[in-house]
């Protein structure tokens, strides 16, 4: 059997290296399904993010994907970059403040 230079396996394999990549992927698909954006708008946004990172020599595909989700979510007025950064920081604090073995809960007043 000849093999090509890439993986010729029929198995889909693991499309994601880390869980956050899978979650970011599924979020984009679900936002599209719910009509938040068209898939053309998605492709254009993702393409722009890829071009931006490639210009500085970065080829982290799922970082581009996540950037594109955040860009569109902000553009559609669903959550601003500042709001998202605030929640991310609150989650980081929640992890640090939660003893090992206990479930991590986001400690913040409801918006």
């Amino acid at each position: 059997m000849t093999r090509t230079g890439s993986d010729v396996s029929l198995e889909p394999g693991r499309p994601f290296d880390e869980p956050w990549q899978a979650e970011a992927f599924a979020l984009a698909v679900q936002l599209h399904r719910q009509g938040v954006f068209s898939w053309s708008e998605w492709s254009a946004t993702l393409g722009a993010e890829i071009a931006k990172l490639e210009a500085v020599g970065d080829e982290d595909y799922f970082r581009c994907w996540l950037n594109a989700v955040e860009t569109l979510v902000a553009r559609k007025g669903l959550a601003s970059q500042d709001e998202l950064a605030g929640i991310a920081a609150a989650w980081a604090d929640a992890y640090r403040d939660t003893p090992h073995g206990e479930p991590v809960r986001l400690g913040r007043p409801a918006p």
């Binding site: 890439s6 010729v8 979650e23 992927f25 599924a26 936002l31 399904r33 989700v69 989650w91």
Partner: protein
């Protein structure tokens, strides 16, 4: 004194995704169960085995092949593989004279319903930027030497238009049924970066 070991926060990327999920669920924009269902589909259900069934059907059923040429979206839909983004499918048949290869120069458009999610090389800058300019050289790097007399056609996918390459049926497979044929069809052969090797048939060696 209690000695609590506190927890390390996830990576910055994971925290950003968590923040998105938190706000979008809280605001009723996304249903977390729907997101989980999508993950299950793409991690466990769709993949190149779907495309392989389309190709094997096209090899064995001339009427299906004709429908695939006329309207690939509908023909592929007959097998239950429906696009998720309303994209239009086009089947590209390799022949003695033409070898087709698919790329998305903009981002990573790919026929998910028949091939699953794209491999890393399909998304790489090197593949996207080079395969249009020098397809034969890129294919050679995949171990595929396309003879000079065969024309190489490169197809650039878009959000609306996705391509499935129908590789040539290998020699020595006349005795195989559709299922056995499907088992021969590789992912890369349906993107056009590989061809299918002939099968040593019949002589029992």
């Amino acid at each position: 004194m209690s000695e609590h070991r506190h927890q390390d926060p996830p990576s910055p990327m994971a925290l950003r995704v968590k923040a998105l999920e938190t706000l979008l669920v809280e605001r009723g924009v996304v249903d977390p169960e729907a997101v989980d269902a999508i993950l299950d589909v793409y991690e466990h259900q769709v993949g190149p085995h779907n495309g392989a069934r389309v190709v094997a059907r096209a090899w064995t059923d001339p009427a299906f092949r004709e429908r695939l040429r006329e309207d690939a979206t509908a023909a592929i839909g007959e097998l239950g593989f429906l696009g998720m983004q309303g994209e239009h499918m086009v089947a590209l048949e390799n022949t003695e004279r033409v070898h087709n290869v698919v790329v998305c120069t903009l981002c990573s458009c790919y026929p998910w319903s028949v091939l699953g999610l794209p491999p890393a090389w399909y998304k790489s800058h090197a593949y996207r930027s080079r395969v249009v300019m020098e397809p034969r050289a890129v294919l050679r790097e995949f171990g595929l030497d396309v003879p000079e007399e065969v024309e190489v056609r490169v197809w650039d996918s878009t959000a609306e238009l996705r391509y499935l390459v129908v590789p040539r049926r290998p020699a020595g497979t006349d005795h195989l049924d559709e299922e056995a044929l499907a088992a021969l069809v590789t992912r890369d052969s349906m993107v056009g970066t590989a061809v299918l090797p002939d099968v040593d048939g019949g002589t029992g060696t």
